[in-house]
Symmetry: C2
């Protein structure tokens, strides 16, 4: 298809597609003349991923890194997950002793390999930022955070399609990155629900999924 059809199919303006092409986020089409090129369904697929990442607030550099992880053709889902995490986790500016970071997570009850030190560093950095603000989460709250995130992670990993490594990699990388804004947004809505439960505002009441029907949305 021509670039105009590519734009029509994906809803991404031609100027934006040209920008992505210049940035190397989308591979060039097959040149058919001096001024035109042919694009395929692979371009449609790639363009949708790039758009979704950038719309989710992922930077150009991180988008590059995620695409590299997607293209790495690793035959091991576990390794790809590590690569994807490394891609979207900023390197810590300060020197954190790996042994110290591992020690922290071990103390929390998880034993983690050296494959994902950046994520462990992120945990340490986040905890330190809270402490600096005079806000250290109580051990019970931290335990709830950990339990809930392990529940989430197990459900995510269980959903990874095992038949095709390509599909699996796709699922892991995109689910990992695109799931972040969803989880944070759900947490905020849930906080409103929980806050209404405790502080008695009448604006929000939780209802079981089975009881919900389209007609029940409050105005």
């Amino acid at each position: 298809m021509r670039i105009s059809e590519l734009a029509e199919t994906t809803g991404v303006p031609i100027a934006t597609i040209k920008f992505y092409l210049r940035e190397g986020l989308v591979p060039p089409g097959e040149r058919t003349s001096a001024t035109s090129a042919r694009y395929t369904d692979n371009h449609v697929r790639r363009l949708r991923i790039v758009r979704a990442l950038i719309d989710s607030g992922v930077s150009l550099a991180e988008t590059h890194a995620v695409l590299t992880a997607l293209d790495s053709r690793q035959q091991n889902v576990h390794a790809v997950l590590g690569a994807a995490h490394a891609a979207v986790t900023p390197a810590s500016g300060d020197d954190i002793d790996p042994a110290e970071a591992m020690h922290l997570v071990a103390q929390m009850g998880w034993r983690v390999g050296t494959g994902d030190l950046r994520a462990v560093h992120s945990v340490e950095r986040a905890l330190r930022a809270m402490q600096q603000a005079g806000f250290t989460p109580a051990p019970e709250l931290l335990a709830t955070y950990m339990d809930s995130m392990l529940t989430v992670a197990r459900a995510e990993v269980a959903a990874v399609p095992a038949e095709s490594i390509d599909e699996a990699v796709h699922f892991v990388v995109l689910g990992s990155v695109l799931g972040e804004p969803l989880l944070l947004a759900l947490r905020r809505v849930a906080q409103q629900v929980a806050s209404a439960e405790r502080f008695g505002a009448s604006v929000a009441v939780p209802s079981p999924p089975s009881a919900a029907s389209p007609g029940q949305a409050p105005e």
Copy 2:
């Protein structure tokens, strides 16, 4: 105390303090001469909060908004939570019909008031970005996300100190904002644990909290 002592107490360089003062993130000290001012413990406290927010990746504009929510002296924790969320949730650039957004969340099994439409919009935006990338979370995964976030939110709200509204506001605003990087980092580490469980890499094994001791951290 003088600005040099303020810098020493908080570990924030004088140049940075002066920048925060110019930006209005920290209130001016009490002027004692043409060239010097006196600062109090309130400045120490505020400076630590500003530093923690900015270190967590919160932008200058969002930090302003969070501080405004902190200073709003609302007498209702539920209202303050809404203000804090509104402060750190970007307004959606596109027009989302409020009724439609509410409908979505009601379909998901939560009934939410109109007080926190921005968070609901964020849920919708995040889901849409995933769909655009050809990645729609299965209903069971979405249900796990929701259950886990409600568990997290209830634990957070239960931990809010009820004696002092000031303390409560502090806790809600900072916990809400500073908790985000912690949760995301924990999710990534948990994904490594879950991925090792399923895909059999030997780099990570979960161990129950009771079994963990400082000596057990792997090298």
